[in-house]
């Protein structure tokens, strides 16, 4: 019997893990990294790129590089007017009004795009485990509605994965900390991602989790921290040297690297 993989399908990055004995172990992807950017690129020659490779070419091919697709999962086009303006790729709709993205010369649904990320994680897991993987558990934000959960399941199916369970992200985090063994407790789980910040209040009773409340900022994450640090450094330099480093792409790149390192 093959192993079941657990997937955190994130807005910015995704991650796959498997149980080895009693512990969950993060599986490195095909490039050896523990997280995979949730980015898909469609090159002019028809090649599809997933993860870090897609991210590396993003700037050369912005209209055909899809990131943050999670923001469009299971949504109607009429619901995403604000989100649509924040991405460089073309967002449209199908005959039922559901979101579609037009990339690589054709209309594709958000589950089809997510399936490419899931497929890459599936392949990484198969290479690590040495056998085929056909079953998975995928996490979603606690605030995801039925349509968004169904879209996530569809993405799994398109990637060749039977999705055994959709688990709330805060519940999965609590399980990882062994909090299911506690009785009748209220806990707060906060999740600061690359582009989103969620907080959830859970109540545990006899191993059953109930999400009591969930909130957050859908446009606040680590990337904004980087930007704030870059701006601070650039402003200080501007004050002391009267040169705006943000206008020089090379200098800006070095500030960006320094900001990311400083944050960690």
């Amino acid at each position: 019997m093959g192993k079941i993989i657990g997937i955190d399908l994130g807005t910015t990055n995704s991650c796959v893990a498997v149980l080895e004995g009693k512990d969950a172990v993060v599986i490195p992807n095909l490039e050896g990294a523990r997280t995979t950017p949730s980015v898909v690129g469609f090159a002019k020659d028809g090649e599809r790129l997933v993860g870090a490779a897609a991210k590396r070419q993003a700037i050369t091919n912005p209209q055909n590089t899809v990131y943050s697709i999670k923001r469009f999962m299971g949504r109607m086009h009429s619901e995403v007017a604000t989100e649509e303006k924040l991405v460089p790729y073309h967002v449209t709709e199908n005959e039922r009004g559901a979101v579609m993205v037009e990339v690589g010369g054709k209309k594709q649904s958000p589950p089809e795009i997510s399936a490419l990320v899931l497929g890459y994680l599936k392949k990484s897991a198969e290479s690590y485990l040495g056998h085929e993987v056909t079953q998975a558990v995928i996490t979603v934000p606690a605030y995801f509605n039925d349509s968004q959960r169904q879209a996530t399941k569809d993405a799994g199916r398109i990637a060749g994965l039977e999705v055994l369970r959709i688990i709330n992200e805060p519940t999965a985090a609590s399980l990882a900390y062994g909090l299911d063994r506690k009785k009748n407790e209220k806990i707060a789980v906060y999740d600061l991602g690359g582009g989103t910040f969620d907080i959830s209040i859970l109540e545990i009773g006899d191993g059953v989790f109930e999400v009591r409340s969930t909130n957050g900022d859908t446009h606040l994450g680590g990337d904004d921290f980087d930007k704030a640090i870059i701006d601070w450094m650039a402003d200080e330099f501007l004050k002391s040297n009267a040169i705006d480093l943000r206008k020089d792409l090379m200098a800006l790149q070095r500030l960006k690297e320094a900001a990311e390192k400083a944050k960690i």
Partner: protein, 193 residues
């Protein structure tokens, strides 16, 4: 449950047979008793295996740490030689820029040789068609020298170990020839060194 007995045939394989007076049963245990003994045995085996696995996992984790540490030590020891040379260079009081440049060049060559001893070599990307498996695009820039989609400038060098890319070359990708009369933008290949 019917009162069945398990008997062992000549090959040692177990078969079940109805309790008939004329079939001499070697065991007086009922099927339930036999199965519960087997279950206890399997349970014992399982617990041993689980404990063995857990110990093995811990031992492997410890060994991995040691392997990583000794590998790091090797690299660090090689790096100390580089530090030595920088210290020697800093101790000289000369103001001769040319000999300073030569010294820096020698230390640079030492580092490149050190990397080569780990089979790590820099690779050239300038003018090549942009390839996300080897290059990381940081910007697009107009270029009179390189066609659209090719690497117009290397911002930092890429390194390979055998066929594996250890660090992708950070590049500016050409967006084609600059428009007539357009000044070369800052940070482009033409005015960088």
């Amino acid at each position: 449950m019917k009162n069945e007995k398990i008997q062992t045939n000549d090959n040692g394989a177990e078969t079940t047979a109805p309790d008939m007076a004329d079939s001499p049963a070697e065991s007086e245990l009922t099927v339930e008793e036999q199965l519960s003994i087997q279950l206890a045995e399997k349970n014992e085996q399982f617990l041993r295996l689980a404990a063995d696995y857990e110990n093995y996992r811990k031992r492997m984790a410890r060994q991995m740490e040691e392997v990583a540490r000794s590998a790091n030590d090797r690299i660090l020891n090689d790096l100390f030689d580089v530090v030595d040379n920088f210290e020697r260079a800093l101790k000289t009081n000369g103001t001769d820029l040319e000999s300073m440049r030569k010294g820096t060049e020698m230390i640079y060559q030492q580092v490149i040789r050190l990397l080569a001893s780990y089979d790590i070599k820099p690779f050239d990307s300038l003018g090549e068609v942009f390839d996300p498996n080897k290059h990381e695009a940081l910007m697009k820039t107009p270029s009179a020298d390189y066609p659209e989609g090719c690497v117009a400038m290397e911002i930092s060098k890429g390194f390979m170990q055998g066929e594996r890319v250890v660090r992708h070359t950070r590049v500016a990708v050409s967006s084609g020839k600059p428009a007539e009369g357009q000044a070369t933008p800052p940070g482009s290949a033409e005015n960088s060194n």
